[in-house]
């Protein structure tokens, strides 16, 4: 396949970036999107040009690093996949593909397509945990009865990989799907209830502090999330926050 790539190039956090066009003449439809970029980078290195910086790690859809906004969509076309799971067969010979970094004030660009997602880490550190020492004194898992519904729903929420596609695709750059998932995975389980009040308050406060926008329920996040995290998690977080404020204000 012959492709034209329009890619955001930005030297460092402070530089003014711009879209740069590249040509690739021999792309196999069996390549993954990242392999295609590897080929382009090899070309650039051979020509003594600066390769394109992009995040990636596992290349199998579990780490959430591969953040790219492809042809106007987080992780490109196709549902419930990350960029490393996207293949060139999803494009046609002769296509022009635009590739941009996640855009949000709370995800500042480090270089080219790499953004700083440590705002997610800080939200997680504000309450996305349970304060138990789990080393060496683990008790039997069946000591605490948990309903099938709660177990399944909490597990669904816990599959969030923190990729930030929800923020990237939201017209408001809202992080509520991510935070909703993180709040829910604990709120649904008895072990998580113990610290539920402070958790939701602190995580939402940190989310607001980081400069994410406010959810207007467009549902774009749910469509673009590689893990199919449901909007119900946002509804649950909203409820949890009201409950928390009624219990402790």
């Amino acid at each position: 396949m012959k492709l034209t790539l329009k890619i955001w190039r930005q030297k460092d956090a402070k530089a003014k970036g711009k879209m740069v066009a590249y040509q690739l003449d021999d792309v196999s439809p069996d390549m993954s999107f990242l392999e295609m970029l590897d080929v382009l980078n090899q070309d650039l290195i051979d020509k003594d040009e600066e390769p394109i910086a992009f995040d990636h790690d596992c290349r199998e859809g579990i780490c959430g690093m591969c953040s790219m906004f492809i042809n106007g969509r987080a992780h490109g076309p196709d549902r419930e996949i990350t960029v490393c799971q996207l293949h060139m067969r999803s494009f046609k010979d002769g296509d022009t593909i635009t590739i941009e970094p996640w855009r949000a004030k709370a995800f500042p660009i480090i270089k080219d397509l790499i953004v700083d997602r440590s705002s997610f880490d800080r939200i997680q550190q504000a309450g996305g945990f349970i304060s138990v020492n789990t080393s060496g004194n683990t008790q039997d898992a069946n000591n605490i009865p948990i309903s099938k519904y709660a177990a399944d729903t909490a597990m669904d929420a816990a599959t969030c990989i923190g990729c930030g596609a929800c923020v990237a695709s939201c017209k408001n750059s809202s992080a509520m799907l991510f935070v909703g998932a993180k709040v829910s995975q604990y709120a649904l389980l008895p072990q998580g209830r113990v610290e539920a009040v402070d958790r939701v308050k602190n995580m939402v406060a940190q989310m607001d502090l980081e400069g994410f926008g406010n959810c207007t329920n467009t549902g774009a996040c749910e469509v673009e999330c590689p893990k199919g995290i449901s909007l119900e998690n946002i509804a649950r977080m909203n409820r949890e926050l009201v409950k928390a404020n009624l219990i402790k204000f």
Binding site: R73, R103, S173, G213, N214, T216, N217, E224, A235
Partner: protein, 225 residues
């Protein structure tokens, strides 16, 4: 709770509560309007009651005005804040792949409804206030004293095709506003959990039937007289 209403989620709650209030108000308003299609006298009685009852005039009406103003001021504030959360826009952003037009254009549809509300105020409310409180005529009667004036005034307003056209356009935009807004408000207060489809279906019915009702009343009087 003040901390709550300063949080992003708290503001969404406040937005949803004002929207619920407007949703209920529309039902009441349409009910009164619909009577005008069936009976001139019933419509007149209702209008006179609504227009002169002190509870409605001095308690409900200020609350309503506050509700509307709160809703669109809050809507503007949230929209501006949300825009500033993405300083650099995407070169290419395919919003239609993951969200409805309605959900991305609430400010536009709301803005048209707001423009209509201004027109509506000039059309109905300001003359009402003028007659009742400035001229002090609380009787609600026609100038010749032959029965109530409300029905005649309504019919007169809907003579102009321009006004009826504007009216229809505004209510189509209101329908679009509600097609996203109705479910959105329930989602904001966390009431969609486990029943999203049901809320969506009720929302669809409400968003189409209520504006359609207003349109039918306008067209009825336009073509019937």
């Amino acid at each position: 709770m003040s901390g709550f209403f300063n949080s992003s989620i708290g503001r969404k709650y406040a937005m949803a509560l004002s929207a619920f209030f407007l949703i209920i108000f529309l039902i009441i308003h349409l009910s009164v309007n619909l009577t005008s299609v069936f009976s001139k006298d019933v419509f007149n009685e209702f209008s006179h009651f609504m227009g002169t009852n002190p509870l409605i005039q001095f308690a409900m009406q200020p609350v309503l005005i506050f509700g509307v103003v709160f809703h669109f001021v809050m809507g503007f504030i949230l929209e501006l804040k949300n825009r500033s959360a993405r300083a650099v826009k995407y070169v290419k952003n395919t919003g239609s792949a993951n969200s409805t037009w309605m959900s991305r254009n609430m400010l536009l549809s709301g803005g048209v409804v707001l423009a209509f509300l201004v027109l509506h105020f000039i059309d109905f409310w300001i003359p009402e206030m003028n007659v009742k409180y400035l001229q002090g005529d609380m009787s609600g009667l026609l100038s010749d004293g032959e029965g109530y004036r409300y029905y005649e005034e309504l019919v007169h307003k809907f003579e102009s095709p321009l006004r009826v056209g504007a009216y229809v356009i505004a209510f189509v935009l209101l329908a679009l506003h509600l097609l996203h807004g109705f479910t959105s408000a329930f989602q904001s207060i966390g009431a969609t959990m486990g029943r999203r489809k049901t809320v969506q279906n009720i929302g669809k019915a409400y968003s189409i039937l209520i504006p359609l009702g207003f349109i039918v009343v306008a067209l009825f009087h336009h073509f019937n007289h």
